[in-house]
């Protein structure tokens, strides 16, 4: 398996969303699973990663021509919601590899909406507005539905690369019906059954809508980084397992957030199934001062915890901080 790592480490998160500060740098692996209580900073961490390398670039999947920071901010109470307690300057630092070698990247954003990017402490004058190497899938059914507009525009490429059949077949294995392909008709995307009848994607269950669209987008764009919030929502365990394996085998780096115990058990299973599965579980806990603490477990350590019949999700309250 070729290892592609866009972001090697989150060096610093300061004054971002509900996080005052990241307690210590967070090293990332190729496959990362975030767990933590509600409001522990999982989504904020994914959003921080998505702002890299330039918060002013647009999101190719989103129909509105907004910068990434507006895409994130407007899903909440506006741009000010990106700044801790709505006032001051956010600073995000990453060790990441774009092109040659690993550099330290710093992004600053003010409550007035201004943002700056620094590469190894030097201000980047020509902004990275064309960077399209990361995909972020928030937990939002409307956003998932809006992916259709992007898929419509790329129908020919999806067909040419046989993505429409590959995804239909992969999903079918985990459904009671068999689908041969996903095709675009006048009023949207349809799944074609083996008997040549069709069903509109919006008439499928939420899990299928989400899995099919995200898989088609990712297979087409082949990004270097996939960020997926509330990964498990609406998904049957067998679909979770299939998607985890698909994500783990792709030539990209993955960071997902979950509350599902199934994800953790399947992660341990995948370690048995795949060679060189470079994965970790990241436990997050925010303290009273809004400092975000984290502890990492590699998959062998996760297996030990599961062998003791301990629920790793419940361990977050006990993290040594």
């Amino acid at each position: 398996m070729v290892s592609r790592m866009l972001i090697g480490e989150i060096v610093e998160i300061r004054e971002f969303r509900g996080i005052k500060e990241l307690a210590e740098p967070l090293p990332l692996r190729k496959f990362n699973v975030l767990i933590g209580k509600n409001n522990s900073g999982k989504s904020a961490l994914l959003e921080a990663l998505f702002l890299f390398p330039d918060p002013d670039r647009t999101y190719q999947l989103f129909p509105k021509p907004w910068g990434i920071k507006s895409f994130i901010g407007n899903r909440r109470s506006g741009l000010k919601s990106l700044i801790y307690k709505y006032e001051g300057i956010t600073s995000l630092k990453f060790k990441a590899e774009i092109g040659r070698g690993i550099d330290e990247w710093t992004i600053t954003m003010s409550s007035k909406g201004e943002s700056k990017v620094f590469q190894n402490n030097r201000k980047v004058e020509s902004r990275l507005l064309k960077f399209k190497e990361s995909l972020y899938f928030p937990h939002d059914t409307q956003f998932i539905k809006e992916l259709d507009e992007f898929l419509d525009e790329n129908e020919e490429a999806l067909i040419k690369e046989n993505i429409h059949t590959k995804v239909a077949k992969m999903i079918s294995k985990h459904l009671d019906e068999r689908f041969t392909e996903i095709v675009l008709k006048k009023d949207g995307w349809y799944l074609r059954r083996e008997d040549a009848s069709y069903i509109h994607i919006d008439d499928m269950g939420d899990g299928v809508k989400k899995a099919a669209r995200i898989m088609m987008v990712a297979e087409l764009l082949k990004p270097k980084l996939i960020l997926w919030d509330d990964f498990d929502t609406s998904l049957h365990p067998s679909m979770i397992k299939m998607l985890l394996k698909w994500l783990a085998q792709g030539d990209w780096q993955v960071v997902i957030a979950t509350h599902s115990i199934d994800v953790l058990y399947y992660l341990a299973d995948l370690n048995e199934e795949l060679d060189n599965f470079d994965a970790q579980l990241i436990l997050l806990r925010k303290d009273q001062e809004d400092i975000l603490h984290h502890k990492e477990l590699d998959i062998d350590e996760l297996e030990d915890i599961l062998e003791g019949n301990i629920d790793p999700r419940l361990l977050v309250s006990e993290l040594k901080i």
């Binding site: 436990l283 599961l306 003791g308 361990l315």
Partner: protein
């Protein structure tokens, strides 16, 4: 003492509980611990929803939990069918560079930083034998003839007994039993609870 999944408030955690076995242990431990004093003290038992019979392998979790949390005291519950003292020594020497082992069910294990109270459940196989013994002590009803113990059949006999007598739940049986009978039927587990109570 109460058994909790997750800490809230200022309750004093007496021990972090790990089991190498099924669901019954948590129910029994919860019901039993509540019969003893120290209401401000708790046993933290963040048990996964899937139970696996992992036996002594469960001990591997101690080191990981210690690294992640600040817990130094553990109560470990294992079924007799997975246990031998030889295997225990083998496992302990895999986990700790130095340790001491004393007592005999409950076993007391001490390493430089960690204390473990290990309880082996079952006379031959599993915790159901203790429940059957409690039923016998409380009611005179003998549910199983040892040897040739079939735990599945015993589980089913316990269920039938609890249903037909109107007790219904294992926890209710423990809640309403005489303390002296609990101490006879769950000798090692009660000793461990008392030990943990006294030491904190």
């Amino acid at each position: 003492m109460r058994v909790i999944d997750e800490r809230s408030g200022n309750k004093r955690v007496v021990a972090f509980v790990i089991t190498g076995d099924g669901r019954t242990e948590k129910e029994v431990l919860s019901a039993l611990a509540e019969r003893y004093n120290g209401r401000d003290k708790v046993l933290l038992f963040p048990k996964g929803s899937y139970s696996k019979k992992t036996g002594l392998e469960a001990l591997n979790a101690v080191d990981e939990v210690f690294k992640l949390t600040s817990h130094t005291r553990y109560l470990i519950l294992l079924d007799r069918e997975h246990f031998s003292e030889e295997k225990l020594h083998q496992k302990l020497s895999e986990i700790f560079t130095q340790y001491s082992l004393s007592g005999n069910n409950p076993y007391q294990i001490r390493s430089r930083e960690i204390e473990i109270c290990l309880v082996v459940l079952g006379k031959e196989k599993a915790i159901e034998e203790h429940i059957a013994e409690l039923i016998w002590l409380e009611t005179g009803e003998k549910l199983v003839a040892v040897p040739h113990l079939d735990i599945k059949a015993l589980k089913s006999a316990i269920k039938t007994f609890l249903r037909t007598t109107g007790i219904k739940k294992r926890t209710k049986l423990i809640q309403t039993s005489k303390l002296e009978n609990l101490e006879k039927a769950f000798k090692a587990l009660v000793e461990a609870i008392k030990l943990l109570e006294e030491e904190t």
